[in-house]
């Protein structure tokens, strides 16, 4: 079984996506089917972007288990006060600067939920956010 953890830095838009690209290459080598790989890539990328643009820094974990791939995003804050709001399509607190870089449409969390077979999000203001996504393979 494989379990890898990759740190993701806050604020570094030029590196945003590097971890997701790495995970994608790994999935290719493992022969994960293209449609499942695409769904997982959408989720890892959206999660990675959120760590960069919204969090104080965190990590992505990629784990292969029998019949299932698990992706987790964990960060060190600032946390989400209203998760229902954050899950609403189009709702975003992203800055104009982030929008100019192509993100901040408020579709990231809904995209993750739609593409994952299992999705859970927990968050505590001042502590951090944890998103866990499972994909049946």
């Amino acid at each position: 079984m494989i379990k890898e953890t990759y740190p993701v830095k806050a604020g570094d838009m030029t590196a945003a996506g590097d971890v997701s690209a790495r995970i994608k290459r790994q999935m290719k080598q493992l022969g994960i089917s293209a449609p499942i790989m695409r769904r997982i890539s959408v989720c890892t990328y959206e999660a990675e972007i959120n760590l960069v643009i919204h969090s104080l820094g965190g990590e992505l974990t990629f784990e292969i288990m029998p019949g299932k791939i698990l992706v987790c995003a964990r960060d060190r804050g600032p946390g989400i006060a209203d998760i229902d709001k954050a899950m609403t399509e189009g709702w975003s607190t992203a800055s104009n600067e982030v929008r100019n870089m192509g993100f901040g449409a408020g579709m990231g969390l809904p995209n993750m939920k739609r593409n994952a077979d299992e999705f859970s999000i927990t968050s505590q203001v001042g502590v951090g956010t944890e998103i866990s996504m499972g994909f049946l393979i």
Binding site: T14, G17, E46, A105, M107
Partner: protein, 120 residues
Amino acid sequence: MRVQEIANVLNAQWLCGEDCASMQVSTAFASDMMSDVLAFVQEDTVLLTGLINSQAVRTAEMLDLPCLVFVRGKNPHQDAIERARALGIAALLTPYSMFEACGRLYMAGLQPVRLGEDDD
């Protein structure tokens, strides 16, 4: 439609990925917001965008898109082109505006991505 035909219809310059000229795409999607692209797009799609940083290429990479078109003659950042080249993704530069580029491709027979349908 083959990527080469897209280049012809858009009077486009090849920035990289000439190897993809004979690849087929059946639909097109146009947006500067990458999350919208990630929400709606299937793999045999050409992405038209005014976003010229490397996140446009990253988005194409995540979705296995064969071809990216940069509109309004706006040259993408060099690292974006290099990334597309390394990934084997065709990058085209058209002088047309987003509206005109989309209009020309639509008239040439390219289909829109159907929204609200599951892509798997």
